[in-house]
């Protein structure tokens, strides 16, 4: 479903060259919950950005639903993104000027979904995340946990095949973090493929598989639960 083949990414400043990813090859199958772990600066986010179609690699191939996308321009990537991927960020990334309802509605607008259908989907997503009572509140009026629930609602509202989560509990206390992880776990059980970057061993324990990165390279993979068994 997602497959990388020898991915490399280098960032260049005027004088310094940083190798963020080196020859990374991995595969994520449909229905999997994969966690990527590693120390700061190991290339986790870079990998997530490439696999989330937010960025292109310098070298290597990336197959997204069977299409080789490593040379896709921003426009093509945006097309694929909005149909198939939901994102969750460590710092929630909600738009401050939009209220809860409007934030969740945003991806549906760009997908071109009609008003009435949009409303149904948004309300259902908010209900699922237990945040419906806060739909007219603005992000700054919510707790971190609530904000992340809104972000999750936004990620799932368009029923994407994948959810990419970049340290989803990084800004939350343990109770709220636990809540978000359970939600992701439930989504995964319902069939959504999840790719998550995390520092936390506990969060990673929700995954079927952990990929460890160090200095831009995969150092090992742990299969935590039998994926095949589960499906």
């Amino acid at each position: 479903m997602l497959k990388t083949n020898g991915l490399s990414k280098t960032y260049r400043n005027a004088e310094v060259e940083t190798q963020a990813l080196q020859n990374v090859s991995l595969e994520v199958k449909e229905g999997e919950f994969v966690a990527i772990m590693g120390p700061s600066g190991c290339g986790k986010t870079t990998l997530l950005n490439i696999m989330g179609l937010l960025d292109n690699p310098n070298k290597g191939e990336y197959f997204f639903l069977g299409q080789e996308t490593s040379k896709f321009n921003e426009k093509k990537r945006a097309q694929l993104r909005k149909k198939n991927i939901g994102y969750i960020f460590q710092n929630f990334n909600l738009i401050d000027e939009l209220n809860v309802y409007e934030n969740v509605e945003l991806p549906l607008i760009y997908m071109g979904i009609k008003g009435r259908e949009r409303k149904r989907k948004v309300l259902s997503a908010l209900e699922k995340m237990h945040i419906l009572h806060r739909k007219y509140h603005f992000p700054q009026q919510l707790s971190g946990g609530q904000q992340q629930r809104v972000a999750v609602a936004r990620a799932v509202v368009g029923s994407p095949m994948f959810i990419l989560a970049d340290e989803p509990t990084g800004n939350l206390d343990s109770a709220h973090g636990e809540e978000v992880m359970r939600t992701l776990n439930d989504l995964n059980k319902e069939g959504t493929t999840i790719l998550m970057v995390t520092h936390s061993q506990r969060d990673a324990s929700y995954a079927n598989r952990i990929i460890r990165l160090f200095d831009g390279q995969i150092i090992n993979e742990n299969i935590l639960q039998s994926f095949t068994k589960k499906t």
Binding site: T45, L54, A78, R81, D96, I109, Y110, M111
Partner: protein
């Protein structure tokens, strides 16, 4: 989608109040200024276009060049118009107009009306012009010598309604029939009048109307079509060329007219107001150069406002970066983001437009006063104005929104969301561009500041310069018609009895007015040998007709000879005084006692002698050198009574003057003005330009200040982390502010250098238009530099102070 964008935008605007106010009001000021300028220019360009087929209407003028002379008059001889009417009607309809020098009063229905503007016109008047007629009698309108046309204003005053055609009015003891009432002449006409007499009436008094004679007729023609016009011009030119050839042959011995060239000019009626600079214009015209200057400034101000928007919008984009990133992750493409921000800029421009309309409406009373107009907001509904508004909104929307929209739509999603955008860090071009914007803003403002300082200096110089006479405490009473002149001696005697009155004199003109040019003969000049060439004995001089006391009353200084004296009874019939310029220009040797002959409109020429030379005084503006002048006693031409008062108990003196006036001139309306005020009117145009510059400079500086504030905000935002680190390492507040303001100082200095040359060039040209002027010194430039630096640094300091004061721990934590 639109709904969502509107929500985000409006909430962003409300949340970032300072930013939004600067932006919206900056644009609104810019728009309001440009709307005022547009309305002003639109009005100036609309002159005389209300006439039907105005494109075919011309004023016929003659231009002559010979030796070092250049003659361009608005008027022609009567014979030219007469020939056109009688022989060239296949080509054009022609009408002559003669401005009545000393307009009489009208009496009817026990009321009187006295208007300063009356004309004679041929019966073909309405074949050329289309002043709307409101009420008329059957048949011809100006054929009979007792027919008269009056304006709506006069008809209403005398008869209480415009339905006055057929009624009788009395003028100078003669009865006239109103053959038509016309609508008041619109403001945007190059000449105004309230009464039209028939040219046939003038013919009864002066047989030379249709023959060669003085150049006093304004000849207008409406050609049947453009080709007829060209043909007519060619035919007239041929006649003139033949005449000039004859003159040159006759002149081959004396060479009085060496190199004589002549041209018939067909001046389009719609060009007269702004472009004609002929001698003897009917009214003082507008100035096309000023229009161009205003247009440029209007454009400058709009550009300034647009630059501000661009600057602030891109500066604030750091704040919007997250939103853009999220939108992109959620599926928005660059196009969506572009549309969002360009719509936002249009929305802001529209909001600013609404505010600007309020500003325009509020400023009308002041603007109209200093611009001398009657502009209203309703004029914005006219077709041209709507086109202007729409194009300005589109232009401004694109101009100010394009760059920020492109700039923001190109943000990299991954960078914005994860790496925390550091605005412009990798975007040197962006910062460079922003600096260019600030430099251009300041350069424009500095240009305007230098100009303002210099214009103000010149105007002050004019006000304080010695004009060669005392214009204070002089009351001017306009006479009306010949009847008033008849009773002048008695009135003068009575006025002189009033305590507080120092002297009384009749006069044809008051300083500040145009003094007419007349030809006089000096037979001695023709005989004097000057480099073995005979010279013409005719000289052209401006003329002032005045009483004995006139020169004393004003304190004119005599250089040679004497002034008029009541003891010399012959002074009233044979004495002339000329000014220094006349002596110098015509190289008159030993002028006292030289013979002079004046014959304009006289059956018997007035022959006399020069009795004195008066020191040059500025009877016209400082725009021109003092022209040759001839002064003589000639009551027929008196148009005013000049009363010199001592200034004490002025109100009581004025009341007594009024009593005396009605005692002798019961039917003539009494009005008065003060000479110093009316003299100052000659600088109306200059003062107007000065006012426009003061106002625009203020707006430009305001906008530039706002722009700078925007840049300062951007740069301090960008350097927040740096500031904090410097503070943690021990930098003082002053040191940090110095670091931050250094860059702006350099930008403003560059702006100064850029502005200086164009300002110098412009002012040099502007000052050249004054014969008497200040030297263009460095002080204005230095002052503008200091001023711009002060304003700039104050603005920047405000922003940097806040940044430098902030707690470094907070800043670094959020970074």
């Amino acid at each position: 989608m639109l709904n969502n964008i509107i929500k985000t935008t409006s909430r962003f605007i409300i949340k970032n109040k300072v930013y939004s106010i600067i932006n919206i009001f900056g644009l609104a000021f810019g728009l309001a200024t440009s709307i005022l300028i547009f309305l002003y220019i639109h009005d100036e360009l609309s002159y005389d276009k209300f006439h039907k087929d105005y494109q075919n209407i011309y004023r016929l003028q003659e231009e002559y060049k010979y030796s070092d002379q250049h003659q361009l008059w608005a008027t022609t001889e009567g014979v030219l118009g007469y020939n056109l009417i009688t022989k060239y009607s296949d080509y054009a309809n022609t009408c002559r107009i003669l401005d009545i020098f000393n307009p009489p009063s009208l009496f009817a229905n026990k009321s009187s009306a006295s208007e300063r503007k009356m004309i004679y016109a041929d019966s073909t008047f309405f074949d050329v012009f289309s002043f709307p007629i409101l009420n008329r009698t059957e048949g011809s309108l100006l054929h009979k010598s007792n027919q008269i046309l009056v304006s709506k204003r006069i008809a209403t005053r005398l008869f209480g309604s415009t339905l006055a055609a057929g009624n009788k009015v009395e003028v100078d003891d003669r009865t006239y029939v109103i053959s038509a009432v016309f609508d008041d002449v619109p403001d945007n006409s190059h000449f105004h009048f309230d009464v039209v007499f028939s040219m046939n009436k003038l013919k009864e008094e002066w047989e030379k109307v249709d023959s060669a004679g003085p150049m006093v007729f304004y000849t207008y023609l409406k050609v049947h079509d453009a080709s007829k016009g060209k043909e007519l011009q060619a035919q007239l030119q041929k006649i003139m060329d033949d005449d000039l050839k004859k003159i040159l042959i006759e002149d081959s011995v004396e060479h009085k007219f060496a190199g004589l060239e002549g041209k018939y000019l067909f001046v389009p009626i719609s060009d007269i107001h702004l472009k004609s600079k002929a001698e003897k214009e009917l009214e003082s015209n507008g100035n096309f150069e000023h229009i161009l200057i205003y247009l440029t400034i209007g454009l400058f101000i709009l550009i300034l406002a647009a630059i501000n928007y661009t600057n602030l919008a891109t500066a604030s984009s750091i704040k919007r970066a997250k939103e853009i990133g999220i939108r992109k992750v959620m599926g928005a493409n660059a196009g969506n983001i572009f549309i969002q921000f360009i719509s936002e800029s249009f929305a802001l421009v529209l909001a600013s437009l609404l505010i600007s309309l309020v500003l325009v409406e509020l400023s009308f009373p002041y603007f109209n006063e200093f611009a001398g107009k009657n502009l209203t907001l309703g004029q914005l509904l006219e077709k041209e104005s709507l086109i202007y508004l729409i194009s300005v909104v589109i232009g401004l929307g694109i101009l100010s929104g394009l760059y920020p929209s492109l700039f923001m739509s190109r943000y990299k999603t991954s960078q914005v969301l994860n790496a925390k955008l550091q605005a412009g860090k990798n975007d040197l071009l962006n910062l460079f561009l922003r600096r260019i914007l600030v430099i251009s803003q300041f350069a424009i403002s500095i240009f305007l500041t230098i100009t303002t300082i210099t214009v103000a200096k010149q105007l002050r110089f004019i006000q304080n310069s010695d004009i060669g006479f005392n214009k204070e405490q002089v009351v001017v009473l306009p006479l009306s018609g010949r009847n008033s002149i008849k009773y002048l001696p008695e009135l003068k005697n009575e006025l002189l009895q009033i305590p507080g009155i120092e002297s009384v004199s009749g006069t044809s003109n008051i300083p500040g007015e145009r003094f007419g040019v007349y030809g006089v003969r000096m037979p001695d000049l023709g005989e004097e040998n000057d480099q073995n060439q005979r010279r013409s004995d005719r000289i052209g001089v401006r003329m002032l007709c005045a009483d004995y006391d006139f020169l004393n009353a004003f304190g004119f200084e005599m250089i040679k000879g004497r002034t008029f004296s009541i003891e010399n009874s012959s002074d009233s019939s044979e004495a002339f005084i000329i000014n220094e310029s006349a002596v110098a220009k015509y190289k008159i040797k030993d002028p006292i006692g030289k013979k002079m002959i004046f014959s304009y409109a006289l059956k018997e020429p007035k022959v006399g002698k020069i009795i004195g030379i008066v020191k040059d005084f500025h009877y016209a503006s400082f725009h021109t050198e003092v022209d040759p002048l001839m002064i003589h006693i000639f009551p027929r031409f008196y148009k005013y009574i000049i009363v010199k008062v001592d200034g004490e108990n002025l109100n009581s003196t004025l009341a007594k003057i009024q009593t005396a006036w009605y005692h002798h001139l019961p039917k003539a309306p009494f009005s008065y003005s003060f000479l110093d005020k009316s003299y100052d009117n000659i600088y109306t145009n200059d003062k107007r330009m000065g006012n426009v510059f003061y106002f625009f400079t203020f707006i430009a500086l305001l906008l530039a200040g706002m722009g700078l504030y925007g840049l300062a905000a951007f740069i301090t935002e960008q350097r927040r982390a740096e500031i904090s680190i410097r503070k943690i390492l021990g930098a003082s507040l002053g040191r940090i502010m110095l670091t931050l303001t250094k860059e702006f100082t350099i930008l403003i200095i560059i702006a100064n250098l850029i502005a200086w040359l164009p300002a110098w060039y412009f002012l040099k040209n502007w000052l050249n238009d004054f014969a008497i002027r200040i030297e263009l010194g460095f002080d204005g430039f230095v002052l503008a530099a200091l001023f711009s630096l002060t304003i700039g640094l104050l603005t920047v300091s405000l922003k940097t102070y806040i940044a430098a004061k902030s707690n470094p721990v907070e800043t670094l934590k959020t970074d």
